[in-house]
């Protein structure tokens, strides 16, 4: 058992020192990989920031989607109250607000304050009372409308179906495009790392062959390269996070002024989570890239 532990630490020591030596010996190549990874991850960061902001913004827009149920003038008050209670208990519903006939008239008067001539043509109060329902999930708007139409107190239901559909289309497109772009960027970064490490592996192919012939295991040969890839990926990630960290505040201000009609607001620890994500992606890409590069040279 102690022998196994000693062995393990010997292998770790060997792998770490070999990786460091290789990284330094091929420093021009390593730096190229670090910068390539940093550029890719910078784009990835930018994209994640934009998509996250868009998601928050679109989420806010979705919040505004509502359904208006116009009530019958003859609907009994008790029935209207019961209906509101049922709606509040409904899992699809975020908020219910009741607008009486008088409230509706008051709102109309306010909206037409500078067109009193139009208001003078109105006699009595032709406006119906209504219940405005805000949804938790804009995707379920049709379901809720169908449920409302079944209510006996409801005369008619309006929903901004076109607005909702467009909104959903934009949201979904942005999310899909985001995922596709991020996947593409990860692919490109992987390609750069694979080729960099491949050069390092190629430079040491003779050593690898000899290692195989004197009885080294595949993982013993692989570890230093995997670590070297991880060093490249992680360095790129740190560089990226440093740049993003410096540029994040000004960029956020710019973005907010660009879309100030939306309440965009990301959590305070978003930059931290982004840096964590970047580091994880850097490590994963570095390790995966090296693994792929070494594989071909292990068949001896």
């Amino acid at each position: 058992m102690t022998a196994a532990i000693t062995r393990f630490f010997e292998v770790v020591r060997y792998a770490v020192s070999t990786a460091a030596v290789n990284f330094w010996r091929h420093r021009a190549m390593s730096l190229a990989a670090v910068f390539a990874a940093a550029v890719m991850m910078l784009m990835l960061n930018g994209f994640v920031i934009v998509v996250s902001n868009l998601n928050v913004a679109l989420g806010a827009l979705e919040q505004k989607v509502n359904v208006i149920a116009y009530l019958r003038d003859d609907a009994p008050a008790a029935e209207v109250t019961r209906m509101q209670e049922r709606l509040r208990a409904n899992p699809l519903v975020a908020e219910v607000s009741y607008l009486t006939k008088d409230d509706a008239m008051a709102r109309l008067k306010q909206q037409l304050a500078d067109r009193r001539d139009l208001l003078e043509m109105v006699t009595g109060n032709p406006l119906p009372a209504s219940v405005e329902v805000r949804l938790k999930d804009a995707n379920r708007i049709a379901d809720l409308a169908a449920q409302l139409r079944k209510e006996s107190a409801v005369e008619d239901v309006t929903l901004q179906q076109d607005v909702v559909d467009n909104l959903l289309r934009i949201t979904n497109f942005a999310r899909v495009a985001g995922v596709v772009m991020v996947a593409g960027l990860i692919g490109i970064t992987l390609f750069v790392i694979v080729n960099t490490i491949r050069l390092a592996v190629y430079a040491r192919r003779q050593e690898i062959e000899i290692m195989k012939l004197v009885g080294a295991t595949d993982w013993f040969i692989r570890w230093p390269f995997v670590l070297e890839g991880v060093i490249c990926g992680l360095s790129g990630a740190l560089l990226t996070s440093a740049l993003v960290g410096a540029a994040y505040e000004p960029m956020q201000v710019q973005f907010l002024s660009l879309v100030q009609f939306l309440p965009v607001n990301l959590d305070a620890d978003f930059p931290l989570r982004l840096a964590g994500l970047t580091a994880a992606v850097g490590i994963a890409i570095g390790a995966a890239g090296s693994y792929i590069s070494v594989r071909r040279f292990l068949d001896v």
């Binding site: 000693t6 062995r7 393990f8 010997e10 292998v11 060997y14 003779q206 050593e207 062959e209 000899i210 290692m211 195989k212 012939l213 004197v214 009885g215 080294a216 295991t217 595949d218 013993f220 001896v300």
Partner: protein
């Protein structure tokens, strides 16, 4: 114990390097593998460390069928069967000490082991004073001895030497052979591939002669012809 059973090896380009070879080499044996270039000596060695698999027939080392060896067990085979390669296969950017230590490091020996075993082995091959040199600055015979030290340092049970005296002057060649004889006396099986007839004739050991991929002679206490 090395056992070859009806082994035939045909390369993808159609060359048949070995055909129908049946052979047993017991533990602690010292045998010469002789024959002209292209007789199949190198292929025979590649089969022993599973660099190649036979096209048909079987190769056993200590009862283990090499064709059934899992990929991850190949390193263990190669620690048991050490090869001294004809072209030495030394790493030019590592010192003599590091080249020998390398064979221990790959099998995860501790630094203490390395510090103890490497000087001992370098002493055995007479290279203690050259430990810090780089292979490129050594003579052919010295490089040869580094290769031998690397093969020996792990105390393999089988040592295969591929033309180890090929590039050496007669005196150095004789020293190399004496070294291998001593190693054999310590209990290691030695397979010595060569076409140096003088050496074979002097030592009078078991001789396995290959020609055109077939065993044409297998004789104890024999000479080259």
């Amino acid at each position: 114990m090395i056992v070859l059973h009806n082994v035939t090896k045909t390369y993808p380009n159609g060359t048949t390097a070995l055909s129908d070879v049946d052979l047993q080499i017991p533990e602690r044996d010292f045998c010469f593998l002789v024959g002209p270039s292209g007789a199949g000596k190198s292929t025979f060695i590649r089969l022993l460390i599973r660099e190649e698999l036979p096209t048909s027939g079987r190769v056993f080392i200590d009862g283990q069928d090499l064709a059934r060896l899992r990929r991850r067990d190949i390193p263990h085979l190669r620690r048991k069967v050490s090869v001294i390669f004809q072209d030495f296969k030394l790493l030019p950017q590592k010192t003599v000490f590091e080249n020998v230590a390398f064979a221990l490091e790959v099998s995860g020996h501790s630094r203490a082991d390395v510090q103890a075993l490497v000087p001992e082995t370098l002493d055995l091959v007479g290279l203690s004073d050259k430990a810090d040199r780089y292979p490129g600055l050594l003579s052919g015979g010295e490089q040869q001895r580094v290769a031998i030290a690397r093969a020996l340092v792990r105390r393999p049970s089988i040592l295969v030497a591929d033309e180890p005296t090929g590039n050496l002057d007669p005196e150095t060649a004789a020293q190399t052979v004496q070294l291998l004889v001593r190693v054999n006396a310590l209990g290691t099986t030695i397979v010595f591939a060569t076409h140096n007839s003088e050496l074979v004739n002097t030592l009078r050991r078991r001789v396995i002669a290959l020609e055109g991929g077939r065993i044409v002679r297998d004789q104890l206490n024999a000479g080259y012809e």
